[in-house]
Amino acid sequence: MIGLDLVYPFAGLIFLAFAGSALRDRSHRKRIGNALFYALIALSLLAGDRLGDLGNGVLVLGLVAIAGFGLMGRGNAATTSPVERAAEAAARRNRLFLPALAIPATALAGTLAFKQMPALVDPKQATLVALTLGVTIALAIGYAWLRPRAMTPFDEGRRLMDGVGWAAALPQMLASLGAVFALAGVGDVVGGLMGRLIPEGSLFGAVLAYALGMALFTIVMGNAFAAFPVMIAAVGIPVLIHGAGGDPAIVAAIGMLAGFCGTLMTPMAANFNLVPAALLDLKDRHGVIRAQIPTALPLLAVNIGLLYWLAFR
């Protein structure tokens, strides 16, 4: 069955090509650091399951050392000039969109199709497998049509990757921190504190504590998934569901969405908030968060209102 055992090695080979591209770029001041970083990510994707837990831990230490000592940076990789690009854009017109759209289109069609073939493709990984197929198709079209040198797509991809830099590993690091927090029982301690903060006898106060607790704990952890078990145990189950007779489906569903409002406001949700700022070359590292806060705060208030009015009828 095709699943992550295809997706990870494929992504690993691409990171290996990034590492090679960085190493070859003699104009790049920090090419060694970048190349090592990409090579370690490639190693993780290609052979992570064979390294053992401690081996993976050592790999993480390597990534942190490279990033922490400031050994990474952007290069000025050779690419086409704005004038050349404008000329090509004028000549090639809308056909340029075809390979770019081939990726989401294949991901879409593949997800739907692969779910019908559980014997061939792992249904849980249908989208990632379809995405891999889409990238393969788009790359094939790109080579056939644009006739680049073999390494050019990887040099160009590495140019974008340099913009993201060490932030590429941050989402995985934060997920691992969440695992350590769970192991250390951080959630129970926070839940205990929250439980003591709730004003006695006030249903609105309890709703407020639950929803704001979801948002705040998500801001700290970068992930509503980590906040949910803590807040449902501290406030949701004892006070809102058992105490006030709230509908468990509504308390859970809207509580999770209150947490998502927190995700919009935190640099800890790196893959949603910091990585896109890097991918889009924004001068303001927190530009995406700034654009989201005016949506997140009113939406959080709406969630508090919905919880209060819908869950206790």
């Binding site: 990870y8 992504a11 691409i14 994707l45 399951d49 401690l54 993976n56 831990g57 990033a67 922490g68 004028a90 090639r92 809308n94 340029l96 969109f97 989401p104 991901a107 995405l131 990238v135 790109g142 644009l146 797509p153 160009e156 991809g157 590495r158 990757m161 941050l170 989402p171 995985q172 690091m173 997920a175 695992a179 250390a184 951080v186 301690v189 700290v220 509503a224 949910f228 569901i241 468990p248 489906a249 859970a252 569903a253 809207i254 999770m256 969405l257 919009l264 800890m268 790196a270 949603f272 896109p276 889009l280 924004l282 001068k283 654009a291 949506t295 009113p298 939406l299 709406v302 819908l310």
Partner: protein, 217 residues
């Protein structure tokens, strides 16, 4: 209480602008040691979780295609296309993208779009071009690019929970079952709809206001 030191380290580390990878590792170390976990066990637990979460990093496999197409003028073409469409404003573009993202996410198609796949190559350059055209500004409009990324996140977050087989729904079901409360995923996903509508209205109004602000030079 000592296990909360990790949270303090995270906050302080971000405020003082240390390298976030370093901050995260130090926070994990402090938390684990405070909880009495040995250093080697801690490193192994951290490494295992790192290995288990590799799926978030595979998305960078799209970059060679995007980079190659950019080399041949993809972003320029996206801008020209927008410039040629009359009545096409940054607000309407992003409103349409918000709807597309919410609806596809609600159908479980969360990875068909995203920051690397669609925002960087297509949506952001189009939004920037539309905003520049409206304001008559020559400079790159980073605000419009940030708004494009924000719109992707809002659409994804407040669409995906309507799909019954998404991770967060399964997590809620599992946690509630631990307390003896059995709920069908369908009931959880239905109650994501009111917030999804509110998200569309709130972010939509903001996009329209953004649009109007860009129209006045």
């Amino acid at each position: 209480m000592l296990v909360l030191s990790g949270i303090l380290i995270i906050v302080a580390g971000f405020v003082l602008r240390f390298n976030p990878l370093l901050v995260v590792l130090v926070s994990a170390l402090a938390t684990g040691l405070a909880a009495g976990i040995g250093p080697l066990d801690l490193l192994a637990a951290f490494g295992k979780a790192f290995n288990d979460s590799r799926y978030v990093t595979v998305i960078y496999m799209v970059l060679p295609v995007i980079g190659l197409l950019e080399r041949h003028g993809l972003q320029e073409r996206a801008r020209t296309l927008i410039a040629g469409l009359r009545g096409f404003t940054v607000g309407r573009l992003l409103l349409g993208y918000l709807l597309f993202r919410q609806v596809t996410a609600a159908l479980g198609l969360v990875s068909v779009a995203g920051h690397a796949q669609t925002v960087r190559p297509l949506v952001a350059p189009m939004a920037e071009a539309a905003a520049q055209q409206q304001s008559g500004d020559e400079e790159r409009d980073e605000e419009a690019a940030a708004m494009a990324a924000a719109t992707d996140n809002v659409g994804l977050f407040f669409g995906e929970d309507i799909f019954i087989a998404i991770g967060s729904i399964l997590l809620m079901k599992g946690v509630l079952e631990g307390y003896g409360i059995v709920i069908e995923p369908f009931h959880l996903s239905v109650w994501a709809i009111p917030t999804a509508i509110a998200a569309f209205v709130i972010h939509g109004v903001r996009l329209m206001l953004f649009d109007r602000r860009k129209r006045r030079p």
